[in-house]
């Protein structure tokens, strides 16, 4: 049965995590996408800055996240997916920083994922095509990274999920790592065959797909059962805005310019039965604080509607 989830960023606060999880539950969500990336942000990493959060020992990290785990449990929220801090490799970053991301942040993230009994860890591929010269060479580096984590993933029962992400030229967004569904499917199969376990899967991001004009239905059909995780959000086709689905229109007829029909048909076609998870943290800061509960409920209702549509055969 399809469940509805949402990312914890802007809902679950470290000071009182239980409250945030209860707010999610009250809005109709049963699953959470734990925003581990909020503890070491992409903005700071691109500035080559790191904090000391992941310097903590595994025990310290578990202690830190115990209130979160307990809060989720009490509220009846299952942590279905988690986002590893990204980028996992900073192009033009120092060797020290990239070693830290690879050898400290990544394995500790996997341990935290297991601590939450979370099955799926979303990992961004390396953005190295410009430097290395091709997507194939870029993937080779990403695969090296994934291979280094795969034994741990197998042992912990975690499926690492690669995500369709983007890069840009002059502010114009163009496809980045993992935007070729056929290649992604082959790579996932190859790695899973190698380990005899589902160590690798896919996270489809609707907003990123929209930015690069993907044929969503075809893309999801190519992924099939390898699709484990979703990041559902909307944008204007120009910027990665992470807004509510059905928000953007471009013509006087005012019909959604994002292919939500194709998204639903694609999920229906592959028999998707996991979690419709929203990655819509910016919505919660855009609406007035007092409307947060209602906004969350509305996102939950959108999820319920989508689940019903997908179930229609």
């Amino acid at each position: 049965m399809i469940e509805i989830g949402i990312q914890t960023k802007n809902i679950v606060k470290d000071e009182e995590p239980r409250q945030g999880f209860f707010q999610m539950a009250q809005a109709g969500f049963t699953c959470g996408d734990f925003s581990l990336n909020a503890y070491l942000t992409n903005l700071s990493l691109y500035r080559q800055e790191k904090n000391d959060f992941f310097d903590q020992s595994e025990e310290e990290l578990e202690r830190f996240f115990t209130p979160h785990r307990e809060g989720a449990r009490e509220a009846g929220i299952r942590i279905h997916q988690m986002h590893m801090p990204y980028p996992c490799y900073v192009p033009n970053g120092s060797m020290e920083l990239n070693d830290y991301l690879w050898h400290v942040v990544a394995p500790k993230s996997m341990k935290i994922c297991a601590f939450f009994q979370c099955r799926y860890m979303v990992i961004h591929g390396f953005k190295l095509a410009r430097n290395l010269g091709s997507e194939e060479k870029e993937w080779a580096e990403t695969e090296r990274f994934l291979q280094s984590l795969a034994p741990m993933a197998k042992e912990l029962g975690i499926t690492m999920c690669i995500e369709n992400i983007y890069t840009q030229s002059g502010g114009h967004i163009v496809e980045g790592p993992c935007c070729n569904g056929r290649k992604a499917a082959e790579r996932i199969d190859r790695m899973n065959d190698q380990y005899g376990a589902e160590v690798l899967g896919f996270c489809f991001d609707t907003g990123h797909g929209n930015l690069v004009g993907l044929d969503v239905e075809a893309f999801l059909s190519q992924l099939g059962h390898r699709l484990k995780v979703l990041h559902i959000h909307d944008n204007d086709g120009v910027g990665d805005l992470h807004q509510l689905p059905f928000t953007f229109t471009k013509t006087r007829e005012n019909r959604a310019s994002t292919d939500w029909d194709g998204f639903i048909r694609g999920l229906r076609r592959i028999g998707f039965d996991k979690v419709l998870s929203f990655e819509t943290a910016p919505v919660l800061t855009a609406f007035p604080e007092k409307m947060k509960g209602e906004t969350l409920k509305f996102i939950g209702k959108l999820g319920t509607w989508m689940a019903e549509e997908i179930a229609c055969r």
Binding site: P91, N92, A129, R130, N131, L132, G133, S134, E135, K137, Y166, S169, G170, G171, H172, I173, V174, E175, C179, N180, R182, N210, L211, V212, G213, L214, D215, E217, A218, G237, V238, T249, K250, T251, E253, R255, A256, S257, T258, D259
Partner: protein, 445 residues
């Protein structure tokens, strides 16, 4: 590789003299034949529909009469009239030594409502292939069918369509080029037919195989492949595609590339390198050049710059056309960057900085320089990236078949210096579109 100019916006088909003159004086000798001119997307949209609509409203008798007058010359009713539309253009072109190596067949509007025109298009496209051959054309871009094609049945519909064109293409010795399309999703352009390069490559291979079998069974003579591909950079840009991947996947099937710039959000046909933001191009030219270089692209590079042309005063157009030609030549030079290196039995670099370092990273192994030069005397006798840095006067003792490649952005200044020294074999190198890049830059060189 041919640099081809698309005439839209530049040449008036009814009065082509000035436009052809501008193109010719700009340095172009090849024009594409835009057959939309004989039957526009709007004309197709209205075909046998507007007449019915107007007949229903007696008040619009004048409009009906005008429509019928227009219709009388429609090539949709009589495809033999195609030639008449291009007569002047072809004749003025010929007088100016212009050739028409490639044509673009009429196509439906992206947001067409018509799902009933397959037969009409088929006859029109057959006639276009024949006309293309009659003016010496070697290939014609015929967009895939999309309107009314059921999801999942794209290949079946297009297979049938293109194979019906194959006998005419073979007989005319014209290659039919499929082209990547986008589709309008409520105002947002997303990927359409043949925008999946892997799938497009499969289509072309199947079509060529089946066409060969079909023609052989009919006892017809076969000259090469009937089908190839034309990559529309504007569409790739609208759909945010990785153009390196796109080109490499299509590989030798790629026979033509439409070069046009845009902001990546709306259809556009601007001169490459003109749509920019904060000093960066909106179109990822790096990926495109890398891809075309990797596959040793040797087809037609078609400059489609209608939007830019129409925004320039007619008084400035001769200069614009000259710039456009130079831009085309620049693409060719970048794609064939190794051609200059292969001309010489040995080479020497001029410049001991990052460009020299980038040369050595990408080409140093295959084309090892004897040494490099620099005007900074403090660097003479030092070693940079394994190369000895010598003073410019060392160039005077080189054999005549040694090429000197300027690896410094002060190209013209250094070229002048070398020419004044009596050195002739001076070439430029450029590292803006290298096959790969270092992760860092050397500072202080």
């Amino acid at each position: 590789m041919r640099i081809v100019c698309a005439p839209s916006g530049i040449v008036s088909y009814s009065r082509p003299n000035q436009g052809i003159m501008d193109i010719h004086q700009g340095g172009f000798s090849h024009l594409s034949l835009d057959m939309q001119h004989c039957c526009s997307g709007q004309e197709l949209e209205n075909f046998r529909a507007k007449e019915e609509e107007l007949k229903g409203e007696r008040r619009q008798e004048e409009q009906l009469e005008a429509w019928q007058r227009e219709k009388r010359i429609s090539v949709l009713e009589d495809s033999s009239k195609i030639g008449r539309r291009f007569q002047k253009l072809a004749s003025v072109g010929k007088e100016n030594g212009i050739t028409f190596p490639i044509a673009r067949a009429p196509y439906l509007l992206r947001d067409t409502k018509r799902v009933d025109l397959e037969e009409v298009l088929l006859e029109l496209h057959k006639a276009c292939i024949r006309y293309c051959a009659s003016v010496g054309g070697e290939s014609i871009v015929i967009r895939p069918l999309f309107s009314g094609v059921e999801y999942g049945k794209e290949w079946e519909a297009n297979r049938k369509y293109y194979l019906q064109l194959a006998p005419v293409a073979a007989e005319s010795q014209v290659t039919v080029l499929l082209e990547n399309q986008c589709q309008n999703r409520n105002g947002h352009m997303i990927r359409g037919m043949c925008s999946d390069a892997g799938l497009a490559a499969q289509w072309i291979d199947y079509l060529n195989k089946e066409a060969r079998e079909q023609l052989a069974a009919e006892g017809r003579e076969i000259h090469g492949d009937c089908f190839g591909f034309c990559m529309d950079v504007g569409v790739c840009n609208l759909c945010g595609q990785d153009m390196h991947e796109f080109a490499v996947t299509l590989d030798s099937r790629l026979k033509a590339v439409v070069l046009r710039d845009s902001d990546g959000q709306q259809e556009g046909a601007m001169l490459p390198f003109t749509c920019v933001s904060q000093g960066q191009p909106k179109t990822d030219w790096l990926s495109l050049i890398r891809g075309l270089r990797q596959i040793h692209f040797d087809g037609d590079l078609i400059l489609e710059i209608q939007d830019t042309v129409e925004c320039f005063s007619p008084l400035l157009r001769p200069m614009l056309m000259s710039l456009a030609k130079q831009v085309g030549e620049y693409f060719r030079w970048q794609i064939e960057i190794e051609r200059a290196l292969k001309k010489y039995s040995s080479i020497v670099l001029f410049g001991a900085g990052n460009m020299c370092r980038n040369f050595l990273k990408c080409y140093g192994e295959q084309y090892p320089p004897l040494f490099t030069c620099d005007n900074n005397e403090e660097r003479w006798g030092t070693i940079f990236c394994g190369l000895e840095v010598k003073p410019p006067k060392a160039l005077l003792s080189l054999p005549p078949d040694c090429g000197i490649f300027i690896c410094n952005i002060y190209y013209r200044e250094i070229e002048k210096q070398l020419r004044e020294m009596g050195i002739e074999s001076v070439e430029f190198f450029n590292d803006e579109y290298m096959p790969s890049f270092h992760f860092d830059r050397v500072k202080g060189v």
